[in-house]
């Protein structure tokens, strides 16, 4: 997992780190993680005054282009440690959009379709009809107004 994390991390300039505050609310910031090969942790800077505590944490890298396309992302679950300076201790890497190419994207779409079907089945709800004509008419009107 460590080697794959470093491979993925090299594709991004920075990462979003999220820890938990004293009140349990998530607190996120962006920084550039520095791999510590010996300890297999990522050394990070924490903003001064940030109300985060050592414990459960996450790391997200993502990017998109100017038109919100070509999206890429991956997530790492782990924890924050403050012993010997702040560090993110990675535990589990979760591939996201674009991480595994076109096949990966198709796999995400297939899983989403299946999950939607199961969401409805669990609740005994028939698939709500989608008013395609109304949606396309509103979209056309929006683009005419633009």
């Amino acid at each position: 997992m460590w080697d794959e994390l470093l491979k993925q991390l090299r594709r991004y300039e920075s990462a979003v780190i999220t820890g938990l505050g004293d009140d349990g609310y998530p607190f996120s910031w962006r920084c550039t993680p520095h791999p510590d090969q010996m300890q297999k942790v990522l050394r990070i800077d924490v903003p001064p005054g940030a109300p985060v505590t050592p414990g459960p944490a996450g790391l997200l890298c993502h990017r998109h282009d100017e038109r919100m396309w070509n999206q890429r992302s991956f997530l790492v679950r782990g924890r924050l440690s403050s012993a010997g300076g702040w560090a993110f201790v990675p535990e589990r890497l979760i591939p996201g959009e674009g991480a595994r190419g076109l096949l990966g994207t198709l796999s995400i779409l297939r899983k989403a379709r299946r999950a939607a079907r199961e969401y409805l089945q669990r609740r005994g709800i028939p698939p709500p009809p989608i008013p395609w004509a109304a949606i396309n008419e509103d979209k056309a009107q929006l683009l005419r107004e633009k």
């Binding site: 998530p26 989403a112 109304a134």
Partner: protein
């Protein structure tokens, strides 16, 4: 929520500095964090619609990607970080973190006023999303995308870092105890 609490949250957003509000309005994506069953934070890139007059942010997720909704139904605490200005047209904007509680409606929507506002922002900012409903094949492949749940965030506290400089102490608006 009482009328007074509603007014306070509306006021919190409307009184933010103009450059902070520009970020909330113009950034194409933000990073939504919810809390999983084991209490750990999970962060997702999402699009948020800024609705300061209603004192809230509007988000939505397809029922096929509903893990974040399951989290919020168990624990409403969430945060939104606006830290990637790509596509926003803003130069040296602040980075902004919003904390608050998320509310998820029970109804699976396909087309209502909230979803209309949400889709309209997506169509304008993500042109490829216009194609999802256009052709029979698109409608077949993406039908799951149009069966959605609406998430609203009532902000309780807002932090921001001028020019996106996280080495500085953030500015903050809102009570220090949001629980």
């Amino acid at each position: 929520m009482t009328d007074r609490a509603e007014a306070e949250r509306r006021s919190l957003l409307l009184e933010l500095p103009a450059d902070v509000q520009a970020v909330l309005r113009e950034f194409r994506t933000c990073e939504l964090t919810t809390l999983s069953k084991d209490g750990g934070p999970i962060t997702w890139p999402v699009m948020a619609v800024y609705q300061p007059e209603q004192g809230r942010f509007l988000l939505s997720t397809a029922i096929g990607l509903s893990q974040k909704v399951a989290h919020l139904r168990r624990d409403p605490r969430l945060s939104l970080l606006f830290s990637d200005p790509t596509g926003s047209g803003l130069a040296d904007p602040p980075a902004v973190l919003v904390q608050g509680d998320g509310h998820v409606g029970d109804d699976i929507g396909t087309w209502n006023e909230d979803l209309r506002v949400y889709h309209r922002q997506a169509w304008l900012r993500q042109p490829m999303s216009r194609t999802y409903s256009f052709s029979p094949i698109g409608r077949y492949l993406m039908g799951w995308y149009f069966r959605r749940l609406v998430i609203t965030l009532r902000p309780a506290r807002v932090f921001w870092w001028p020019v996106g400089d996280f080495s500085r102490t953030p500015e903050v608006v809102g009570p220090t105890d949001v629980g």
